[in-house]
């Protein structure tokens, strides 16, 4: 009971602060919809309008982009982490492309991939891959050499070393890469849905913005936050079991 109260309390505080700001007169009331107005709009959108479809489309795109991005990032990360000469060669390229904001790439993506689903997922793939690959290769490169030595003195071949030592040690990094990529992908979602999306949470926000419907904008943003949080919590729950052997400070 006490724990539930502890978890709920920051949210309660935020809602109270929200009310306080809305009714304080500090900001023009037309610019801040009240929490109950947003809640009402949320209900409206959910039951009578497009929200379920938007949630489905956005979640689908994020999942697809992240899954593809991480599926490529893991093996690439392994290779870059294990072979320092290859990494020295590729590292500047990776850092260059990672620094590019996905928004800047949209015009090019539209030219090369059109304005369909593929284009949107490409942007999300791009963001997820570059976020994930760095986590992976740093993780692999940081594997303590002592485990490799121990395995060799017990008679491990290179293949056994990889399967039985490197992979288990890489699992925590794969989980971190996934979490980071998910976060980056949700953040990039709105940018990716700029590519002429009709449906999706980013599209919902864009549309509402052009009609100055602030309450719908709030609904969209809060939805994105809640879904991203839910995904992260699931991932952490799965992850905690897979890495329960780790000695951690947190």
């Amino acid at each position: 009971m006490r724990r539930a109260a502890l978890i709920a309390s920051p949210w309660v505080v935020i809602v109270l602060v929200w009310y306080a700001i809305a009714y304080s007169g500090l900001v023009n009331p037309a610019l801040i919809p009240t929490p109950h107005a947003v809640a009402a709009q949320f209900w409206e959108q959910l039951v009578h309008a497009r929200l379920p479809r938007d949630i489905l489309m956005s979640t689908q795109r994020v999942l697809l982009g992240v899954v593809c991005g991480i599926t490529v990032a893991v093996p690439v990360g392994f290779v870059l982490g294990w072979y320092p000469s290859i990494r020295a060669f590729i590292d500047p390229l990776i850092n260059f492309f990672r620094a590019l904001p996905p928004i800047a790439l949209i015009p090019l993506v539209v030219v090369y991939f059109g304005i369909g689903e593929i284009a949107k997922v490409v942007i999300l793939f791009y963001a997820s891959f570059f976020a994930g690959v760095i986590v992976m290769y740093e993780g692999i490169a940081q594997i303590s050499p002592i485990y490799v030595r121990v395995a060799r003195t017990l008679g491990a071949t290179d293949a056994e070393l990889f399967r039985k030592v490197v992979v288990p040690l890489a699992v925590p990094h794969m989980l971190t890469a996934l979490r980071v990529a998910l976060g980056v992908a949700w953040a990039t979602l709105v940018a990716s849905e700029l590519i002429a999306a009709q449906q999706g949470l980013g599209a919902l926000i864009q549309n509402a913005a052009s009609f100055f419907q602030l309450d719908i904008i709030y609904v969209g943003i809060i939805c994105i936050g809640l879904i991203a949080l839910a995904m992260d919590l699931c991932l952490r729950a799965v992850g905690n079991r897979l890495v329960s052997w780790q000695e951690r400070i947190a």
Binding site: I146, Y147, R149, V150, A151, R152, T153, L154, G155, A156, T157, E160, K164, V165, P168, L169, V171, S244, W245, Q246, E247
Partner: protein
């Protein structure tokens, strides 16, 4: 001690090791023209000042590093890499954190090089778990184990693949005095059950005299052999050996040699005017 000398197994033949100098500096010679042999069944301790290069010598036997000159051989053949015939116990334990105690010990037996039937594998793991006093912790993970227990786990894991040689690099260095003493006695007990040829790198003169049949005292860097001392006490040994006057004499003698080398090392690092 045996009446006839047992055959030499591991030989250092005029071995030197140099690391290339950085930024155009001349190469650093770590090991300088060292020659000796380790015989079957011996317990050889290598002792000397910190950083003199004794771990490097063990690394050459383990196969982690090759000499720049001369040869380190096993039964006449050059050692070119690590293998399950030479088990290594590291100072930092190196127990696999993602595996339980049981799975750590079984690890070597799951490798192709040590193919053992599944039934036999369980029996082997049980045996070494018991021998090392870890049976109550079979399903525990290393993060819940103390330093002494982790080192016992490392030893059990190394023993499970039945190596002929045991190479130990300051294995008890990170442990407190009581645990260290207990581990030394445990090691002697296990060796009495299953004889191995042991090379131990240590700082502790006490430990070297208590455990070994032969002590090699090394000089400061670049390391050479200062003196080789035969330890006249037989096996099995127990704690009472510490009280014997001969033990004290031998310990003093070795300590003097080591202290002289420490002093030589200190002089080396002082700037010359």
């Amino acid at each position: 001690m045996t009446s006839a000398p047992s055959p030499p197994r591991i030989a250092f033949d005029r071995v030197s090791l140099e690391y290339p100098g950085r930024n155009g500096a001349p190469p650093v010679r770590v090991v300088d023209d060292v020659s000796y042999a380790i015989r079957q069944g011996e317990f050889v301790s290598v002792i000397g000042p910190s950083g003199c290069g004794k771990t490097t010598m063990m690394n050459m036997v383990a196969g982690f590093v090759r000499p720049s000159a001369g040869a380190v051989t096993l039964d006449g053949k050059s050692i070119d890499g690590p293998g399950p015939d030479r088990g290594v116990i590291f100072q930092e334990y190196g127990v696999f954190p993602w595996l339980s105690v049981r799975d750590n010990i079984a690890f070597g037996l799951t490798l192709g090089a040590n193919r053992a039937a599944a039934a036999e594998r369980d029996a082997i793991v049980e045996r070494y778990m018991r021998l090392m006093g870890l049976a109550d912790f079979a399903d525990a993970y290393p993060k819940t184990l103390s330093g002494g227990m982790r080192q016992r786990l490392a030893i059990a894991r190394a023993y499970a693949v039945r190596p002929e040689f045991l190479l130990m690099d300051e294995p008890f260095g990170a442990l407190d005095a009581q645990t260290r003493s207990a581990m030394q006695d445990l090691l002697l007990d296990v060796l009495a059950t299953e004889r191995k040829t042991v090379m131990l790198i240590t700082h502790s003169v006490e430990e070297a005299v208590y455990l070994s049949s032969r002590i090699i005292v090394m000089t400061a860097r670049p390391t050479r052999i200062r003196e080789i001392v035969d330890v006249p006490f037989g096996y099995p040994r127990d704690e009472s050996l510490h009280e014997a006057p001969e033990f004290g004499e031998l310990r003093s003698h070795i300590r003097d040699l080591v202290m002289q080398e420490y002093a030589a090392q200190a002089r080396q690092s002082q700037p010359t005017t």
